[in-house]
């Protein structure tokens, strides 16, 4: 009996706290009417989820890294990515005008967690028909090299 009273009490308090004259239902209606925020808009401050923290790329492109990166990219990535054209996944050309260096590396290294937690990666999964970015188990060095190669596209 006590239990039932307690539940009732909590429920009443709960409704009362909905407060401000606006009902819970109205709140929900209002929220769903709002256009969702564009996850891509804040790309410059989004470094993704994963092992790579925000970092600045040196001004000069490292040609040795580029060569290595191209090799890795062609072996592990080209089944789904074409440099200048949307394929299974997006084209990496000019990627650094849309994504931060850390975000790109985290997407390569940690795609499973990215598509669960990162707002841009979540949106990309929807934009690309639910086709998940495959984890190709690159090392951090390899992912960094691929990123350097992307700078040359």
């Amino acid at each position: 009996m006590k239990g039932i009273y307690l539940t009732f009490l909590i429920a009443v308090v709960g409704f009362a706290c909905g407060g401000g004259g606006q009902s819970k239902i109205d709140q929900i209606k209002e929220q769903s009417a709002m256009a969702p925020a564009d996850p891509y808009a804040s790309w410059e401050s989004n470094h993704g989820v994963g092992p790579i923290k925000a970092f600045e790329l040196p001004a000069e492109v490292d040609q040795i890294l580029v060569t290595n990166g191209k090799e890795v990219y062609e072996a592990k990535c080209t089944a789904c990515h074409k440099a200048e054209k949307r394929f299974i996944g997006p084209a990496p050309k000019d990627i650094l005008s849309r994504r931060t260096p850390a975000w790109v590396m985290n997407m390569i290294l940690n795609p499973e967690e990215m598509v669960q937690k990162d707002p841009m990666a979540k949106q990309l999964l929807i934009d690309y028909n639910g086709s998940p970015m495959a984890n190709q188990n690159l090392t951090e060095e390899e992912a960094r090299a691929v990123l350097e190669y992307f700078r040359t596209l």
């Binding site: 592990k76 028909n129 998940p132 495959a134």
Partner: protein, 653 residues
């Protein structure tokens, strides 16, 4: 009112407590309902079992991998039988594993798995298992859980006293159950006596690669060799084989091979055999047997036909073999963890015989012989027996051990497991099995260091244990908790085929070494396409080779034209994924073979010989992503003389 309610509540609670208490007491007598037995076999969702169990599939030819204590089935490793689910024996890469001197044999009767050991302890590297029918021994990697090697055993028939592993995996033995003419020749069957031989084969094992090599055969008299066990600790260097049909009957064995009051356990001094081989004291016999090895780098198996075998005739080399008389057609021949006792389970007797290794050495040294058989000394029974377990049950078959000096023996005829004490030979406990138990397994229970805790009984008869499924029933296994004084039945689970034996090991020994995928850069398959850039189609006369790739969720190429009726089309498919648990499958309409199931980084091949003109689809058979249903392609097949050029594309490119 309130007071009345409270009193009522108190009475209720007390009443419930009493009830609960009485349930507990009843449970001790009446099984799982009243105690925590279910809890002891329960592994919660998402949690892992404590032990792996490697259970033979008998006439399925395979090896089943279970978890203990849950009894959950994780995988069936294809070994001696083709397995369309996995493309095993169907794809071009694994076909050679089933080659023998008789040609490809797509099935066998898999009997006794045993695990590699280091210093007498299970080490989690490999599992070995014997094919009984067309004598073969297989080695399964415990990293990839794939069959990596199968070697045929020449001069052998009914490869039953196999595949048992010595303390440091120096050798895996393969003893013949049926004796046969050696070398094989056309002979009246009733000229069996003296002409038929029993080959006991020792396969050496390379400690790095695991590869086996037929080191030598001891050519024994024409008995039936039933089971074997290597010596442990003090008896390391010896191998013991149980025998029956020392009568050398060739017909109606159930009567004629059950005449002698005692048969033998043969004790082979393999260290001595090693010396003889090293000194060149052996005969080389012409023979023919297949040695099949799967190379993880090329993802492909190859067969080598071997032509010779080194043979030792025990009558010529005193000290190589002795016979220990053992009552009534012994089946199990099991050595305790200390290496002192060799337990013979005379399957037609009511008692178990334990021989003493120390007494055996003494009998040899002081020549306490009771005659000889084909030039091999027979030791005097009374001078080698350490003790007899009397009245234990009917039809003893097989014994394993815990780490506390106890032995556990199955009794087929009386359908029970009996626990007894080594040294005092007294029976401590007995529990029924359901029904007619064959072998049992305690994790590590045939090694120097048993892990104890659980015992799995593998039964031959199931009858009413499960929901009926027509005339054929899954064989039942039962799991007993042996951590206490009394064995307790905690789980009953169905098995695949007919488990003849099993091996168990702690999960922690095996889990850390798992292969999760194959690295593309280490893929040396000659027909691999390691990126979509390498995907292509090549024609060589009527042979067409498609170098195809897969990744979530498309094939490259997925449109192929220029194939003609009468072509032999090879699909070489490389899975470009480099992540755990992302296999892709492929199958082609009308292909006279199975699907392929390709692990990440692996290349596999199937052959399709199109018989009709048309446009024929292929698709991915293993649900790989949200776009799995889109993972498909077409091959255009034209008439034999057609002028359609060879062309392959993906998305028009």
């Amino acid at each position: 009112m309130k007071i009345k309610q409270s009193i009522f509540s108190i009475i209720l609670v007390v009443g419930l407590l009493i009830l609960a208490g009485s349930c507990g007491q009843q449970g001790n007598k009446s099984g799982a309902l009243g105690s925590n037995m279910a809890e002891r076999a329960y592994v919660a969702p998402g949690e892992h079992d404590e032990f792996y169990a490697f259970i033979s599939g008998g006439y399925s030819g395979q090896l089943s991998i279970y978890g203990l204590p849950s009894g959950r089935l994780f995988r069936v490793v294809p070994v001696f039988s083709v397995d369309a689910e996995k493309g095993y024996g169907f794809n071009e890469e694994t076909k050679p594993l089933l080659n023998t001197s008789f040609g490809p044999v797509p099935w066998d009767d898999a009997h006794h798995p045993d695990l590699s050991q280091t210093n007498g302890k299970v080490d989690g590297r490999w599992c070995f298992i014997n094919g009984n029918n067309t004598p073969r021994i297989a080695r399964i990697s415990l990293s990839s859980f794939e069959t990596e090697e199968i070697i045929e055993i020449p001069n052998s028939a009914g490869n039953h006293s196999s595949s048992f592993v010595t303390e440091n995996t120096e050798y895996v033995v393969a003893g013949t159950r049926f004796s046969v003419p050696v070398p094989q020749r056309d002979l009246p069957i009733d000229e069996y006596k003296g002409n038929f031989k029993g080959a006991l084969t020792f396969l050496s094992v390379d400690q790095e690669s695991g590869e086996m090599d037929l080191a030598f055969q001891v050519m024994m008299p024409g008995f039936n060799f039933d089971l074997a066990h290597p010596g442990r600790k003090k008896s390391h260097g010896w191998m013991f084989f149980s025998t029956y049909n020392t009568e050398e009957a060739n017909s109606l064995l159930e009567v004629n091979a059950s005449q002698n009051d005692k048969d033998y356990i043969a004790a082979i001094n393999w260290k001595k055999a090693e010396e003889l081989i090293a000194n060149g004291e052996f005969e080389t016999m012409e023979s023919e047997y297949a040695h099949n090895i799967y190379d993880e780098s090329t993802h492909m198996a190859t067969t080598t036909m071997k032509k010779e075998v080194k043979v030792l005739d025990p009558s010529k080399y005193p000290g190589l073999v002795y016979f220990l008389p053992t009552p009534k057609s012994p089946h199990g021949c099991d050595v305790d963890p200390s290496g002192e006792y060799i337990i013979g389970s005379g399957k037609l007797a009511a008692a178990l015989t334990a021989h003493s290794f120390t007494k055996m050495l003494d009998a040899i040294e002081n020549e306490k012989f009771d005659g000889e058989a084909y030039g091999i000394p027979v030791l005097n029974y009374d001078d080698v027996v350490a003790g007899v377990v009397q009245g234990a049950g009917l039809g003893p078959l097989h014994t394993e051990f815990d780490a506390k000096g106890n032995a556990y023996t199955t009794f087929f005829i009386s359908s029970e497991v009996v626990k007894w004490k080594l040294g005092t030979w007294e029976v401590l406990d007995r529990q029924p099995t359901y029904y007619s138990v064959g072998h049992l397994m305690i994790p590590g229970g045939n090694s120097q260091e048993p892990f104890g805790k659980y015992l799995v009984a593998m039964n031959k008869i199931t009858k009413d244990r499960y929901l009926p499924t027509g005339p054929e029933l899954a064989h039942s296994a039962q799991l007993y908790d042996i951590s206490g004084d009394k064995m307790e039945l905690i789980l009953d689970f169905p098995t695949i085929g007919e488990p003849h034996y099993a091996a168990g090991a702690p999960a922690d020994l095996i889990k850390p070494n798992q292969t999760k995928f194959y690295k593309l850069e280490e893929n040396n398959h000659p027909y691999a396409a390691k990126s979509e850039k390498e995907a292509r189609v090549e024609r060589n006369g009527k042979e067409v080779h498609i170098y195809m790739t897969t990744i979530r969720s498309h094939f490259a190429p997925d449109n192929i034209e220029g194939i003609k009726v009468g072509d032999k089309v090879y699909f070489h498919v490389t899975n470009l994924e480099q992540d755990y648990d992302v296999p892709h499958g492929i199958s082609m309409i009308g292909a006279n073979t199975s699907e392929l199931l390709i692990m990440p980084g692996q290349t596999e091949t199937f052959i399709w010989e199109p018989k009709k003109e048309g446009v024929w689809p292929f698709y991915c058979t293993d649900f790989c992503s949200a776009l799995h249903q889109e993972m498909q392609g077409y091959v255009r097949v034209s008439a034999p003389g057609a002028d359609v050029p060879l062309k392959w594309t993906l998305d028009g490119e």
